[in-house]
């Protein structure tokens, strides 16, 4: 029995009944890391000394009767593309190997205000480009359910650390599925919020029109608490939305009577593995049993999502990553003869293969003579994909399907086959393109590996997603299964 088998709310109560201390929680994290990290390898940097010091201070505050917030004293892991003041932030890239941020991301300020304790920074695909965490410059992360398989990506470290019980929850980021796909592969709960729900200030940009930070947790309730803490308007991010943040935990009523579910036929058709299909159909039965109804619908343009995404995300990335030039921060190559040479050597030595591939694709798609044929065409297709969802949401409350076409794949299986790797995100990408919120929750197993159910909601309607996910969780046991490490 680990302390982290408790929900956040229960841990909070134990703290205030003085049955445990904040130091106990931090101890639990580092003890578990000591036990399993050599197998899982989720963390790139640990902040143990600081975390223990903070825990002591917090225990003193608690003794004085302060520290009432629900997240006060809770250990958390942070994906390594979210800047943390004074704590190395690498994006899992050689080019930022020694980068020491001089400010905190807005989500980090929010978390400090809420009283969480940062345990360390979590591994990812370099600059969040990938679906397996194999593209990290530093190390691979292993799926706690089967160490021969990938944890998914790009937030593979964030999902694996929660699944392995190293931290009770973590933050990831999702550009085309990078929270939901690893959450599915690792059997945890991962939410990509509506575009604009959470500030991106201090999230190292990959594709600015798609990126969102979101919570990865063991339960839906924990997820709602964490989203609550990081949501809202931020003057530092002009794309953060001025939309009121509801009380998410209050939406967890367990009541989904009369809920109208749309199930896109494209999400259960060709290319979807049979165990995945069955797990989703079973989940729909559970939801029906709780009083919801579902009907088959069509997202006719979803099949163009992957192509659209790779053109748009790579174009935005090629522009965003231009800042890594070896001048103001990061790695600088030696032996350059002039400035252009310095840029080229620095970037060629500093970036990994997949990052270069995407910068090249994006630069091509934006280059003179190709812009209309590729970039603009993809932006127009994005409109069609968004319209598909808008139409469905006129008549339904949520869209449900699988998170991924199949369970986690083997390490090394797809690394030399970019197109097949990209196809892994076929069910998550359309959600980013449309800017919608989506969650992945555990809904079954295939040969001992977890499967994820994806619930997609209307813009800024995370509350309904949580209500449905929570009702499903209360009616099932999948989230209670733990990997044996």
């Amino acid at each position: 029995m680990s302390l982290f088998d408790h929900k956040i709310k229960d841990l909070h109560e134990l703290l205030h009944k003085k049955e445990i201390t904040v130091s106990d929680l931090v101890d639990e994290s580092y003890k578990r890391i000591q036990e399993v990290e050599s197998k899982v390898q989720a963390f790139l940097t640990l902040d143990e000394e600081n975390a223990r010091k903070t825990a002591k201070q917090m225990d003193e505050e608690l003794a004085k009767g302060s520290g009432k917030g629900i997240l006060f004293g809770m250990p958390i892991g942070i994906k390594d593309n979210i800047v943390t003041k004074g704590l190395r932030t690498t994006c899992a890239s050689k080019i930022l190997e020694n980068f020491d941020p001089i400010y905190d991301a807005t989500v980090m300020e929010n978390l400090h205000n809420a009283g969480t304790i940062t345990i360390g920074k979590l591994n990812m695909d370099e600059f969040a480009m990938g679906s397996s965490t194999e593209n990290s410059y530093f190390q691979k992360t292993y799926n706690p359910w089967n160490l021969e398989t990938v944890p998914g990506g790009s937030s593979g470290g964030s999902a694996a650390a929660v699944a392995a019980g190293e931290v009770p929850f973590s933050l990831g980021s999702d550009t085309g599925g990078s929270i939901r796909q690893p959450a599915a592969f690792c059997g945890v709960v991962g939410l990509k919020p509506t575009y604009g729900r959470v500030s991106r200030y201090g999230l190292v940009a990959f594709a600015s029109s798609l990126d969102q930070i979101g919570p990865i947790t063991r339960t839906v309730e924990d997820n709602a608490y964490l989203l609550q803490a990081i949501s809202g308007l931020d003057p530092h991010d002009s794309t953060s939305a001025n939309v009121p943040v509801p009380n998410y935990v209050e939406s967890l009523t367990g009541d989904i009577k009369g809920l109208r579910i749309a199930v896109p036929k494209e999400y259960l058709g060709e290319g979807i593995s049979e165990p995945v299909r069955q797990s989703v159909l079973n989940a729909l039965k559970v939801l029906e049993g709780l009083g919801a109804t579902w009907e088959e619908v069509s997202l006719p343009h979803s099949k163009y999502g992957v192509a659209t995404y790779y053109l748009l995300a790579s174009s935005e990335a090629s522009s965003n990553l231009a800042r890594f030039d070896g001048i103001r921060y990061g790695y600088r190559a030696s032996g350059a003869e002039n400035l252009i040479d310095l840029y080229k050597k620095t970037r060629s030595e500093g970036f990994g293969e997949e990052v270069k591939r995407r910068i090249m694709l994006g630069t091509f798609a934006l280059s003179s003579g190709y812009y209309d044929a590729y970039y603009k065409k993809a932006q127009q297709t994005r409109t069609l994909i968004k319209n598909d969802f808008d139409k469905i949401f006129e008549n339904y409350d949520v869209v449900i399907g699988p998170t991924t076409p199949a369970r986690a794949f083997k390490i090394g299986e797809l690394i030399d086959d970019p197109l097949t790797m990209y196809a892994n995100d076929i069910l998550t990408i359309p959600v980013n393109l449309a800017g919608l919120p989506g969650i992945s929750i555990p809904c079954g197993f295939d040969e001992g590996l977890p499967l994820g159910l994806q619930i997609i909601g209307k813009h800024f309607d995370e509350a309904t997603i949580y209500r449905v996910a929570d009702a499903f969780e209360k009616a099932t046991d999948y989230h209670k299964q733990k990997p044996q490490l």
């Binding site: 001089i102 163009y304 001048i327």
Partner: protein
């Protein structure tokens, strides 16, 4: 028919301020060619008169009061610079 030639890849690499060995140039050319061919499935779609979406939120220019705030201290800003001297970032020669 290949959609992209090795010469084009070299040109794009220069635009992106990247350089490749001959060997990886071959690999990148064939991989980019495959990805671009795949992307051309979008040509099946008639997008005449479809407005492009660059951003999903219905927002225009976001304005704020023009209030000066303190900037970051110079030592802090230079902390991550690979080479600096007398409070300035040092770079190789720009002019030939």
């Amino acid at each position: 028919m290949s959609r992209i030639s090795k010469e084009q890849v070299k040109h794009v690499a220069h635009l992106a301020r990247l350089e490749f060995s001959e060997e990886s140039l071959e690999k990148f050319t064939s991989q980019l060619d495959a990805i671009i061919s795949y992307a051309e499935q979008l040509n099946e779609l008639d997008t005449t008169n479809v407005p492009p979406t660059s951003h999903v939120l219905d927002m225009k220019n976001v304005m704020r009061e023009d209030i000066a705030e303190p900037g970051l201290p110079r030592e802090e800003v230079l902390k991550n610079a690979p080479d600096h001297i007398n409070g300035q970032v040092r770079v190789p020669s720009v002019l030939e």
